[in-house]
Symmetry: C2
Subunit: 338 residues, 2 copies
Amino acid sequence: MPQKVTSLQVAQRAGVSQSAVSRVFTKGASASPATVEKVKKAAAELGYRPNVLARAMITGKSRIIGLVVAYLDNQFYPEALERLSNALQAEGYHVLLFTIPNSSEGVEGVVQDLMDYQVDGIIAASVSISSGLAELCHGAGIPVVLFNRGQPDSGLSSVTSANIKGGHTATQALIDAGHTRIAHIAGWGGSLTGRDRKQGFEDAMENAGLTPFAIIDGMFKRDIAAASARQMMQGQTRPDAIFVGNDHMAFAVMDTVRTMGFSIPGDVSIIGYDDVPLAAWAAYDLTTMRQPVNRMVEATVDTMLAQINGRDTYSQTIEIEGPLIQRGSSLPPKGQRQ
Amino acid sequence: MPQKVTSLQVAQRAGVSQSAVSRVFTKGASASPATVEKVKKAAAELGYRPNVLARAMITGKSRIIGLVVAYLDNQFYPEALERLSNALQAEGYHVLLFTIPNSSEGVEGVVQDLMDYQVDGIIAASVSISSGLAELCHGAGIPVVLFNRGQPDSGLSSVTSANIKGGHTATQALIDAGHTRIAHIAGWGGSLTGRDRKQGFEDAMENAGLTPFAIIDGMFKRDIAAASARQMMQGQTRPDAIFVGNDHMAFAVMDTVRTMGFSIPGDVSIIGYDDVPLAAWAAYDLTTMRQPVNRMVEATVDTMLAQINGRDTYSQTIEIEGPLIQRGSSLPPKGQRQ
DNA sequence: CTGAAAGCGCTTACAG
DNA sequence: CTGAAAGCGCTTACAG
């Protein structure tokens, strides 16, 4: 195990004090051009780089953001994860990743682990934080931003799409296409995201004077969504359209419906939510509400940095609207058909 | 910003020395039952947890593994990432994530960043490490394990599937099904993974006395694979089977071929490589070589831990075989058809 | 088993 | 601008 190069060694080689070396590598600190040059030269020769951990101890800033994720099988998250990581890296932060093992109860232990690493902030993508945990973070002065998940009255900041409005828009598109027997396979009722989209569905149906064909909690799970779809399509009367709480479930619904011999959108229109890359692929060609990942990521990073730097002390609830992406899995609005 | 609780505060409240507190939280250190009890009580009351960063400074072990990833849009990686993270968490390590921004040249700067955090090891998923970088890590005593990527003569450990054999098996399946005009849309020629699978293809063809219909480098990219497929299928003579270098490209090939009006496997059989979850979905139902992610992850973590703990000083090259998963996108072997 | 002390590699007032 | 010194929160020989 070769020795690590320390600032002291650089100092000796450069013929300056250890403090001087530190100053050269600390932005905002003052050093004469001559010192800077000598130090940089020595550092380059030795291959010196400051120990981030040691720096973190002094400054109290680790420049590490804890990122808690689940549902990586839903294509929305890998993309979000990648963008989040890139955006944070661009700001000089890095992501310490925490995945929730299936075996575990939830985020409890994970967040404690996170705090042990003295993270500067926590981004929780699609996971809930218990109120106890939220208090713990708040008490420790660690900002938390929820990504694609809301938690009313938690005092936590959150960034989501405009889910109520989105649910409404998707449903309205189905209504405008002339559908009347519209079902909703909803996102998990335990999540605000799922509830809000359902709310939008219900509002749109009520405004149109329509009764939902059915509303089922798909739990954001493929198998539950598939089973729900199968059951609906087996009945005497069948829905002529299904709004599904996210794309991940919608793909399973499409597979199921087609396997049963029905045509999409001939027999039933399907609309999803998220607009993950797969939705645009020919095999699905899914009409869906776009969640603007890039803008959601930007907002998340901005909010996080504002909190870390003490610019924002209050929690933010940011909702970002996205458009409906009309594709082949649903009939177009009546006016547009020939 | 509330104060962090330190071991000194716990010591005072428990009426012991700071060293005693440290010992209680250091496994392997000796403390009397009475001390342990007093300290644990005081720690719980204060909400004390050891500062991992401070510990890392002393011990020289950060218990952080740097994970470099690219291609997160290929469904194989999110799954691998999740399993890798879970496995490492189970061993008391955590993952510092590094994504390669599209703008960047490659892993160069990223690995330097990584080392600044004093990571105990680096796992590079599907990215190459320049020989300079490899030396740098080696010089710093940081173990590197390549995941799903091989790099001959780099002195780096790697874990992959048995790509040559896998390419052979996939191709043989096509031959056994009676195909004769077999094309290969290969993985990136700059990667050993891509080259090995191609090698397997060529070996199988040669053994069977067949000439490849075409071999094109798909670069592991959807659009290139799609364009290649389009071109092949537009020609006068068309392939009756295509072995595609990974599933990610195979989906694009299937979309393209179907959009052109051809039937799969009626007009052309398609076989992929990876067996990502999507391959099993009804819309694709893709025959493919399974890469045993779980065993690959296990091997990666084992290798990493062995190197960290100094049990293995030599680099390991581990290849794990997986089965062919026969699905609907390719004709079954001739013998099995009725 | 336990406390006092040194030290991990840095940053940052404090004097000059 | 610069060096000597203190200190971040721990772990770990070293004596007892």
